[in-house]
């Protein structure tokens, strides 16, 4: 499957299919379905400095062709991750992308510092999670703040730095450029879109947190647009995310300019989705006589 390998700057992936953060646990949960090392990489659940219990229930609700979640970044914390979760992933020799999240710039830096001495080849900087009160979102919504945190993490982590962008902004290209200039090696987009559903009987939000993040096929057209826009404005590699479930969805993102993609919500519906996509992509390229995936990337024909 050499036609599928990808180089995101200095990060080599055997294929472009990555399990999205928060939708694949720490990589152990789905081992019954397929070998985790068949994926290009695994992005871990968002990791914070201290363990977090996350938000109260209910945390998820289905919406038309999508779902809203406000898990609130429940995670074991960076220390327990490195001690207890990382060894499994290391034993499988799969590329690990540590998705990290801080309440403050200092926390981001601290977590990155903890990761520097480990084997983890890449950090995905989550500056875009809408489900926590402090931090996160504010960084992602402002180019200046986004650049600041990127730069700070850059200075303490010397391997691949991927920055995950928030779609809840007027101009994603602006944030993308700022982050690229601040030293990001790649960009992943999009995170979930802030959304709300209301229980009309109780008049309460369907999610205890009030608002949450919309994911799934419903947001795909928005994500594809954003990837296409960002592709035109930055030079660093893009990882496309948002409602990808099957081959054709992924192809849209590659054509729009993504060099790799992440599978999130689809894994909930089809535990095998990411694995199946690797196989389908390979067959597609073969049958279409395309020598390498990169021939597809960014081939979108914009209207003149």
């Amino acid at each position: 499957m050499s036609r599928l390998n990808v180089k995101l700057g200095d990060l080599s992936l055997k294929n472009p299919v990555i399990a999205a953060s928060g939708t694949f646990g720490y990589g152990e949960e789905l081992e019954n379905f397929f070998p985790v090392e068949s994926l290009g990489a695994v992005a871990t659940k968002g990791l914070s400095l201290k363990p977090r219990e996350g938000n109260p229930m209910p945390r998820i609700v289905e919406t038309p062709s999508g779902m809203i979640n406000a898990i609130g970044l429940q995670n074991v914390g960076i220390e327990a991750f490195i001690e207890k979760k990382l060894p499994y992933l290391e034993s499988k020799q799969v590329v690990v992308i540590a998705n990290i999240f801080g309440n403050t710039l200092e926390e981001y830096v601290e977590i990155a510092r903890c990761l520097q001495p480990t084997s983890v080849p890449a950090i995905e900087l989550n500056i875009s999670c809408p489900n926590v009160k402090a931090g996160g979102m504010e960084f992602g919504n402002d180019p200046v703040q986004a650049a600041r945190v990127t730069e700070a993490v850059r200075s303490v982590f010397n391997r691949h730095l991927m920055v995950k962008l928030s779609p809840n902004v007027t101009s994603l290209p602006k944030v993308a450029c700022a982050v690229a200039d601040a030293g990001a090696d790649s960009l992943s987009l999009i995170n979930t879109i802030t959304a709300m559903a209301i229980n009309t009987k109780t008049r309460k939000p369907m999610i205890a947190n009030g608002v949450g993040g919309l994911s799934g096929p419903a947001i795909r057209p928005i994500a594809v647009r954003m990837v296409a826009e960002v592709y035109r404005s930055v030079k660093i590699p893009i990882v496309g995310i948002g409602g990808i479930g099957e081959l054709n969805d992924a192809l849209e993102f590659f054509i729009a300019g993504a060099q790799a993609i992440q599978i999130g919500t689809a894994t909930f519906v089809e535990p095998n989705a990411a694995h199946q996509l690797v196989k389908d992509l390979d067959s597609y390229l073969k049958e279409s006589g395309i020598n390498h995936l990169k021939e597809l990337v960014g081939t979108l024909k914009w209207p003149s």
């Binding site: 646990g25 229930m57 038309p64 519906v269």
Partner: protein, 254 residues
């Protein structure tokens, strides 16, 4: 746990929006209390699978007892035998097979009766008889009565309106029957209010109790963290993975 493209073998209305659906899963067996994530028709943008307790395994066919309540289940009703449906299971942890001294009692509410069909059969094979206390709103919400008796269980019913059995809450019936709490172990499945009452009663009599909780589920496989329940220390556990059956002492019951 695996994902199977099964076929609907039978699909019957049993009144009052309740349905029995048989799916050719080919599964060997399951532990009662375990569940499955079933694909339902996608109308109106339905995306996620739906969790249902497994009620019975007979040969290659797994049965689910469901109530049509929302978009997914109401569309499910329309599917006829022969239609293929994906089903992921058996999932989670069911009731435990630990040794018990004293009567084994099940307390079920509504469609929470489902796991106790297979559970009655499995216990009967081991020479145990399950004593089931079964509460529902009204007579027509009492399901599987013949099946449970055929499976060797002893069933006592209660209805809120008194249309069948004891009039009142099933926990009142339970209290009445075991005033001193001389019970070996309690298994319970039903709405949260029922589980709370059962858990508290068991606690007050020091009866070990296993409660099967019902939470909204995104994945059923432990990766989304959408289905959690809290223990008494405020720590969250996944209903789909560590549960859906928990020891009462593990759960924050108020």
């Amino acid at each position: 746990m695996k994902d199977t493209l099964s076929q609907i073998v039978y699909h019957r209305s049993i009144g009052n929006d309740y349905y029995r659906i048989g799916l050719k899963t080919g599964w060997a067996s399951f532990q009662p209390g375990q569940f499955a994530m079933l694909q339902v028709p996608g109308d109106g943008g339905v995306l996620l699978r739906r969790p249902f307790s497994l009620a019975r395994q007979e040969g290659e066919v797994s049965e689910i007892l469901y109530k049509a309540v929302g978009r997914g289940t109401r569309n499910l009703v329309k599917l006829q035998p022969g239609v293929p449906l994906k089903i992921l299971g058996p999932l989670g942890h069911g009731f435990s097979s630990s040794e018990v001294s004293g009567p084994r009692v099940a307390v079920a509410g509504g469609y929470g009766i489902a796991p106790f069909w297979e559970w009655s059969l499995q216990l009967a094979k081991l020479g145990h008889r399950l004593q089931i206390f079964y509460g529902a709103r009204t007579k027509t919400d009492l399901l599987y009565l013949d099946e449970l008796r055929d499976a060797g269980a002893e069933v006592q019913c209660s209805t809120e309106d008194g249309s069948a059995g004891f009039r009142g809450l099933v926990t009142d019936l339970l209290r009445e029957q075991f005033p001193n709490g001389k019970v070996g172990r309690v298994y319970s499945c039903g709405p949260w209010g029922l589980l709370q009452a059962v858990g508290q009663w068991c606690e007050s009599h020091s009866i070990p109790a296993e409660l099967s909780v019902e939470e909204a589920m995104g994945c059923g496989t432990g990766v989304c963290l959408g289905c959690v329940v809290q223990n008494r220390a405020g720590k969250y556990f996944r209903a789909c993975k560590e549960g859906p059956v928990f020891l009462a002492e593990q759960l924050k019951l108020n």
